[in-house]
């Protein structure tokens, strides 16, 4: 087991290093940050001065090695766009907002998806099942940004029940969280439904019914537990996807999280911040996958490295 965890950890670190190389290279393919930061009126002298000041006149491999060396010490450099702030400092400052939004979106997706998925499976081919299928269809076909704008229009502009955008009290979280979590509701619901359908036909479930257990216990205590493996796997990936995939929703709702930070950093060609965000996001993904793999190994002893 320890060997398994050790190998998985090394693989994760390797993947993280490759990500750093990819993001470093790709960022520089998107153009010179001087062209983003300096206005058109700037002349060549200004370009040369600033390039030298920011170290962009050095060879690429030197820039990368400098970046890597500093990153291993926890220094991801200073932001070029947000003067006076370190890149990691900005990401850590914005991360709570994203975690908050992702957490609420996740909670909404679980609270809605679980009962709909279970009932849809139990009442297969009934109006309840049809309702579940419609939820799934809408959830997976409606673009989240469109949904966000429509929700904003209805609930903020016309009804005036909720604010349009920004971060503040819980009322500001509702619309972006629903927009963000809506797709997950559909996916989780479908996973739960299909897993439950498999489990409901099992022999041991028939046995529980023969034993005289209430239908409620059969479904929620025995079937759901066994049907939870697939949704659990997706849950971990889902959680990290919500954290990293909130870019669009944060832009629509002006939610000051890491997604909006990423968009602004890309627009400004702030390589330091872009690199830091991608590496942090990669680490989150890798950590989530590692956790799931370790959980699997505990649950199923057959999963090991020889």
């Amino acid at each position: 087991m320890q060997r398994y965890i050790g190998i998985r950890l090394l693989q994760s670190l390797l993947a993280l290093w490759v990500m750093s190389l990819i993001v470093f290279s790709l960022a520089r393919l998107t153009g010179n940050p001087m062209d983003a930061m300096l206005p058109l009126e700037a002349d060549r002298d200004e370009y040369a001065r600033l390039e030298k000041h920011w170290g962009l006149d050095r060879p690429l491999h030197v820039q990368y090695l400098t970046f890597l060396g500093n990153a291993l010490r926890g220094d991801f450099g200073n932001s070029w766009k947000w003067q006076g702030h370190t890149a990691m400092g900005l990401v850590l400052e914005r991360l709570p907002a994203t975690l908050e939004l992702a957490g609420v979106a996740l909670a909404i997706s679980v609270v809605l998806a679980l009962p709909i998925g279970v009932l849809s499976a139990v009442m297969k081919d009934t109006p309840m099942d049809s309702f579940g299928k419609i939820v799934a269809l809408l959830g997976q076909s409606l673009p989240s940004f469109w949904l966000g704008i429509v929700l904003m229009w209805i609930f903020a502009v016309h009804l005036g029940w909720l604010p349009t955008s920004g971060r503040g009290g819980i009322e500001r979280m509702i619309l972006p969280a629903i927009s963000l979590g809506w797709f997950q509701v559909a996916v989780v619901m479908r996973l739960v439904r299909s897993s439950m359908l498999d489990v409901l036909d099992s022999e041991y479930v028939k046995l529980t019914r023969i034993k005289g257990l209430s239908e409620w216990k059969v479904v929620w205590k025995h079937c759901l537990r066994n049907a939870a493996i697939a949704p659990l796997t997706y849950f971990a990936i889902n959680a990290s996807a919500l954290v990293t995939g909130s870019v669009v929703i944060e832009s629509v709702f002006a939610w000051p999280g890491t997604g909006l930070l990423a968009i602004d950093a890309v627009r400004a060609r702030d390589f330091q911040v872009v690199q830091t965000i991608v590496i942090v996001f990669s680490a989150v993904f890798l950590a989530a996958n590692l956790l799931v793999d370790i959980l699997y190994a505990y649950i199923d002893p057959r999963i090991r490295y020889q």
């Binding site: 206005p39 002349d43 947000w82 704008i149 904003m152 903020a156 349009t164 955008s165 832009s251």
Partner: protein, 569 residues
Amino acid sequence: MQHSRLYKSTLWIVVALLFLTFAGPTLPAQAAEGQAKVDRLVIGLILPFRDYFRPWINGTPDHNIQHDPVMEWLIEIDPDTGKYVPWLATSWKMAPDGLSWQVKLAEGVQFHHGYGEFTAKDLVHSHALWCDEAYPGRTDMPSSAYRKGMCMVNRVEVVNDHEVVMHCKNPCLDFEFYYSEGANVMIFSKAQWDKEGEMILETKPAGTGPYLFKERKLDQYVLYERGPTPHWKRGVVDWKEVQMTWTIEEPTRYAQILAGETHMTEVNKDLVDQAVGKGYKLIRSRGPAQQVQIFIGGLYFGTEDKETGRYTEHGGTTGKLDLKVPWTKKEVRQAMNKAINREEILEVLYKNRATLQYVGGFYPDLPGWDPTWEQRFPEMYGYDPDAARELLAKAGYPNGFKAKAWLVPFAGAPELIPLVEAVQTQLLEVGIELELVEADVVAGVTPVQRERRANWYLRAGPPSKKAVEAQIALFNGGQSIVHSFEDDTIYAMWQELLQIVDPVKRDALLRKIGNYKFENFEIIPLFDVYIEVLVDPNIVADWAFPGWDGGDIGHVWRITACKQEKPCK
């Protein structure tokens, strides 16, 4: 029976809730007479440009909007006349040789937070922040597109506390522009700098403006509060607080003003019209602030630098003039202009809320203007597809030719995309096929322009209003990365201009340069446009701003509150 009572009670509650919900928008609270209806004016803007206060770091005049409530400049651009008028400088006079300006400073102006009176030492300090590369206490190099112009003043001589002489390296007739709010030299307190250091400017900058900087939340907003005492020049401004917020998504910005979360915002013209139909108000800059035009790439007629005999300051490029490009011929450029139906574009895209542009960088209220352009324009540039085809045939392109045009989104000017598409359609009618290329300005366009490789490309752009000299330097003088129409004649005229002291002669030479550009069809000039802001007339009465306060919008102290019960239409 109980069920029936419960049902009826529930029904009444639901009806009451529905009534409250759909009863209509809540009316704003009525203000006490002579007061604004809200304490905090919220302005919904698109981009912060910079998320810090120190203007010399990657400086851009677009950043000025954030400084406008707090800081002041030597010279103001009057919104109503477009002229330079006194501000922290009460008068200024150029020496006969054009190499210095005697400037008298306002007296009794106090800095915020008790940092004393504004005097000559503060001007010396503010100038040095930009022009002294080794200024003690400043950690970052100063950088701004206008730095060369601002630092043409190479020495500030202090005569007394309220009088200085600003000495220039070369004749600096455009001093007024570079020390106005159109550029970056806002006045900082030397006393604060000496006492607190540089970083205090990010939390508690001491300016002399009517508002104090209160708080910044990165990427979200900046908050200002009214000064505790009446302002030395503006008196008591209307708002207790002013908040600038940033939202890049247009539907969200629009939703914010409709929901009452902002009181003024910028949206595209179609949404403006829709909002005006709902009762909102459109306020425009008092004068045109930008020129929408099509740049013609590849007009690199200037002599390149060889080993010696460098003609331009930044000669020597990797780009080459490519004579295979059809529009290197003047007749072709004229044909392209005559193929454009400007009136149609003006009506459809700009809702007739712009005026015709004649020459790039020239405005009626700036030096160098030639009133004959208006009369000559229809014959030389006016829409005439038949004449366009004749010109093309004469130039050797009877069947037209193929070329490309960049489609580059521009925050705040969404009309540029459909504009290029309209131009594509109109040019096709005379046989010119444009391939539209979506491009990112940083990755795709700027490097190509910088290296003079834009030979086959057209590009639409809205350069902002600035001093005419700055326009020529930028687009024709080879002084920056944007290379529009350049040739040895313009280079020579530009060099001559730099040495001219007499304002009358300078005006004449600027006119000569303008005519040269006009007669050589430098660009496809389209429109002089105004900056448009959508406001809630229940809250805001008016806003007088010239449109070229550096960041296009400024004069925040001229945003007046609606103090009457009815909306201020």
